[in-house]
Each structure stands twice: as C-alpha cells, then as structure tokens.
C-alpha cells in the first residue's frame, strides 16, 4: 500500500496535470485566431454558388457554431470541449468537411504507431547495448570510432537526417521509393507481397529514426556507464575476478538501465515529434503527413485533434513506462 501511495499516486497526478495543461492550451490557442471559422465555412459554401435563404443561413450558422464548439461563453465552451474529449469527438475537419477528424486520425494512426513503437524499441536497445559496450571498453579503437559517429549524428535534427537519407538512397542511388506508405494503386490485401511493399516504404523513415535515436541513447548510456564504472560494486567485482562480460551486462548495464528508462519516459515527446517530422519528409501516411496537410490547408479542427491526441498518447506512454520501472529497480519494488 505504501508503494502505491509513494510511487504511484504522484505519477497519476502528474498524468492528469499534463493532460489538463495540454488540453487547456489546445483549447485556448485557436481562440486567438483572427479569422472566424464559421464565417470561413459559410464562405466556402457560398463559393459553391447555390442560393440559400437568410433563415437557412442563420440555422447553418448555429449548427456550425455548435459543431465547432463556439457556442456560449468561454467557460461553457471549455466545459463542452472536455465533454467531447471524453466522447472522442474532435469535431469535423474543416478542409474535408464534414468528415469527422477522428476518422481521419484513425486511418493515419496505425502507420505512426507501428513505426514509432518499432523504431523506439530498436534504437533504445541498440543504443543502450552499444553504448554500454563502448563505455566499458572505452579505450579501444572501435569504441572511440563508434563514439565519433554517434557524436556527429546525435545533434543533427531529424529533418536533416531524413532529408539526407532521402537524397542518398532515393535520388542519388534509387534503391528505395521516394515516399508514401505503399506503392501507388496497391490494394490492402493480406499478402506477403504487401508486407514487402510496406517494409520497403517504411525502411528509410525507420532507418532515419533509428539512426538518430540510437545515437542519442548511445551517448547517454556511454556517459552513464563511464560513471558507473567508478562505483564501488563494479570495482569490487573486478577485484573479485568476475569476467568482463558479466560485469558489463549484469553490473554496469543493468544499473545504467534505470536512469535510461526514466530518460525514455521524459524524451517520449521529443521522439514522437521527430517521428512526425520524418514522416513528412517521406510522405509516409501517418500522423506526420496528416499534420502537415492540416497546416497547409488551415484545417484547425484536424490540427487540434492531432495535437490533443498526441498529448494524451504521450502522457499515457509516459505513465506506462513509469509503471514498468519498478520491475527493473528492486529499490522501488521492495521498500
């Protein structure tokens, strides 16, 4: 019980606070927009040339106001906003009226989720293991070369790495497709060919994310390991004649994993942002491209929907990682 109170409760509170702050920000920002979305839609409709009598226009205005959540005072709007959030209703898309935003997101979501999960897991594992080995054998040549490579890749923004890969592997040496998630015109039948096609399209974006991600984890792991190597229990294990292999894995990496897990939770937001950017470069049909389209078309509902969903998704991911952490750290598990 004590465990739940001291560990779990603050994290659940944190979770709720994040969602609260995020949702409020998303609510407040568009309210500063200079243009009135209702007016805009009416103009769009009017452009189509049909004549609508003034009464119908008024009714349309009211319906639109309600749809866009602009009915009533600011406070009433805020409450209504929350209510719809719980129903999962983000309203209709402006650019693709009247398709609900949620539907658009549902199509793109699986692409992003799979890409994100796979690459995050891969880069975390690769980065940590390589970083651990390089940290332990830091005087060896291969370790220093690896560190040099990671040091060069790590600070470069996701966009540039993605762009670079695109230029090299899709333009200069056209091995991989230039963009998209599937070859044009292919249908979604569950065949092996389909998987190959998806994999080919997903390879460059995935590679881009894994490259940057691994370098980040590599650099932090290496630093952690070099500090852990000065810890008494490592020095003692070395005196005791325990093999290097066992020390690297059972002593060094296992202890360094703990702050790395926390670090994973904290950087989830950044990793997500990076995935979005990478998707845009490759026109990969995930949330990133959807986001880009919503910006260029001024589709604020869609933009808000994606932002809100991202906030909730990331916050939930962080909470899950926080819940898994005690499995790795006996000091939390047993008080």
């Amino acid at each position: 019980m004590l465990f739940f109170k001291s560990y779990l409760l603050p994290r659940i509170i944190q979770y709720l606070v994040v969602i609260f702050i995020g949702t409020t920000v998303v609510f407040v920002v568009p309210r500063f927009m200079p243009t009135d979305p209702v007016q805009k839609t009416l103009e769009l409709v009017a452009l189509q040339g049909t004549y609508i009598d003034p009464e119908a226009v008024e009714k349309l205005k009211e319906t639109l106001k309600e749809l866009y959540g602009l009915k009533g005072t600011l406070f009433e709007q805020y409450l209504a906003f929350w209510k719809r959030l719980f129903r999962g209703d983000f309203g209709p898309s402006f650019a693709q009226f009247p398709t609900p935003v949620m539907d658009l997101i549902k199509i793109s979501l699986p692409w992003t989720t799979v890409l994100l999960l796979l690459t995050t897991l891969l880069s975390w594992i690769i980065g940590n293991i390589l970083g651990g080995l390089a940290g332990y054998f830091s005087h060896q040549r291969w370790a220093r070369i690896l560190e040099g490579i990671a040091m060069v890749i790590r600070p470069v923004p996701y966009y540039i790495v993605a762009l670079g890969l695109l230029i090299i592997f899709a333009f200069a040496f056209p091995i991989f497709p230039v963009g998209g998630g599937l070859s044009v015109g292919r249908e979604m039948h569950l065949t092996f060919d389909l998987f190959i096609d998806i994999a080919k399209h997903a390879f460059l974006p995935a590679l881009s994310l894994v490259l940057v991600g691994s370098s980040v984890w590599f650099m932090t792991m290496r630093l952690l390991i070099s500090n852990i190597l000065r810890e008494d229990y490592v020095l003692y294990a070395q005196v005791g004649g325990i093999s290097d292999r066992e020390i690297v894995f059972q002593y060094a990496i296992r202890n360094a994993l703990l702050p790395q897990i926390t670090g994973l939770a904290l950087s989830l937001g950044q990793i997500f942002s990076g995935a979005l950017i990478t998707e845009q470069v490759f026109a990969y049909p995930g949330l990133g491209t959807l986001l880009y389209n919503s910006v260029s078309r001024g589709d604020y509902n869609l933009l808000m929907g994606i932002t809100l969903l991202s906030i909730i998704g990331i916050a939930t991911g962080v909470l899950i990682i926080d819940l898994i952490y005690p499995l790795f750290d006996p000091r939390i598990r047993y008080r």
């Binding site: 606070v17 500090n227 808000m304 932002t307």
Partner: protein
Amino acid sequence: MFSTIRDLIKYDRRFTFGFSVILIMIFLAILSFFSPYDPKVWNVVPRDTPPSIKHLLGTTSMGQDVFWLATFAIRNSFELSIIAVLISRVIAIFLGLITGYKGGSLDRTLMTINDSFVILPLLPILILIASVIKGALNITNLGILLGIFGWAWDARVIRSQILSLREREFTYTAKLSGMKTLSIIVKEYLPFITPLIMATAMNNMLWVIGMEVTLAILGLSSLEIPTLGTMIHWAVNSQSLLLGIWWWILTPVFICILLFISLYMLSVSISEFLDPRTRLQRIEVMKG
C-alpha cells in the same frame, strides 16, 4: 576564464573544432552587414546559376545570391536563438533556484507543472500556435515563443544542482551566519552554476534553431526573412532537388549540420570539463 578556454583548446579536440566553427559562423554573420544584396528582394541576380567566382555559392530560383543569403540566415538564426535562450535561461534559473532551495510543497507543485512541459510533445503545440499567429512570426516573436517553451528540461537540471549545493557545508555556514536567502542564492550559488548554465544554454540553442528549421519548413514562420529554416523551405518547395539546383539546398543543410555538431561538441566538452568525475578519467588516460 580565458586560461580555461586556452586549456580547453589545447587539450580537447572537440572544443577546438566547435569553437573554431562557431567563430567562423559569427564571422559570416557579421559579414551579412556588408551584403551587397537585400535579402528580402527577389530577382536581383540571374536565377539558378551554379557556383562561380561572382556568386560563390550560386543563386536561387528566386534570383538571390546563395552565399549572401546564407550570411543573413546565420545571423538571423543567431539572433533568434539568443533571444529565445535568454528568455528560457531566465525562467529556468528562476524556477530551478526557487524549487531547489525552498523544497517542500512549493517544490512539488512547481515541479509537477514543470514536468508537464517536459512531457508535453512541443512540436504539435508549437505548430498549433504558429499556424494561428502565422503572419506575426518574425524573428523577435518567434524567439519569444520558443523561449516561453524551452525552459522545462534545464530548470530540472539547475534544480538538482541547487539541491546538492544546499546540502553542502558552506550553505549551513552561510545560513547560520545570518545570510538572507536571496543573498545566499545570488552570492554563493549563482557563480557555482554559471558554467552549468552555459552548457545548458548551448543545448537550448540547438533545440531552438532546430525548432525554427522545422517550423519554417512547414511554412509557419515569416517566410521572407532569411533563416536557415526558411532557406530550406524555399529550396524544397521549389523542387531544387529534382531540378538539380543542389547548391541551394545543400548550403543551408550543410551549415545546419556544421552548426549543430559544433554547438553539441562545445556543450559536451564544457560539461565534461566541469564534471569532476570525468576529469579524473581524463587523467587516467594521460597517465605519466
């Protein structure tokens, strides 16, 4: 301080690299004041010409000289990041000092809010904000915007440093001698954490310029103002790759990569220099 820089240059190759690249960049930025062309005007020179003596890095599809455009881009990116970094430093230091020193429920409340900003995925939020106030995002406003959002991580770092300082003996001595809280913070702690602030500032600069690039590529900042991001935006949107105008897109990309790597190396070497434990490691490598 100068002797420190001199020592770092002599013994840490990363610092040398980073420092010299930054110096070159600053030089280029200053050069922009002498540019013969106004960066906001199009079609002042023949379009799409490859690098030559007259136009060192070629020209763009909109009739601008790439080299001089780049000098403006560097200068604006620097200006932008200085504004943003200054604002976020002030907020981060303020928060870090107060929560680190006071502790208790004030600490927990502020930290919960702080951590929310660490967890929140800033990109979608910034995109949302930027698309709403699209027109007004010049260098200053963008700087302020990024400054308002970039303090969370560093506030944490400063806070943990203050926490450890608080437990040290000199704090107790100062307190027992009757020094007021504010006095202790300003006179004793601030000099201690100044180098830490420098290291985090450089990291923050990285983030700011990266964010600017991302937002600009999406078309969300003031696109007539030449920055590294807007240059890439125009280059990509004008299909420079397909048309083979490689100098236009490679210049900002290359400058970006160089700038980021050098900033990162600077921040890594400074923070390693400060960390007494890694200092010992270096001694071990240079054994007599």
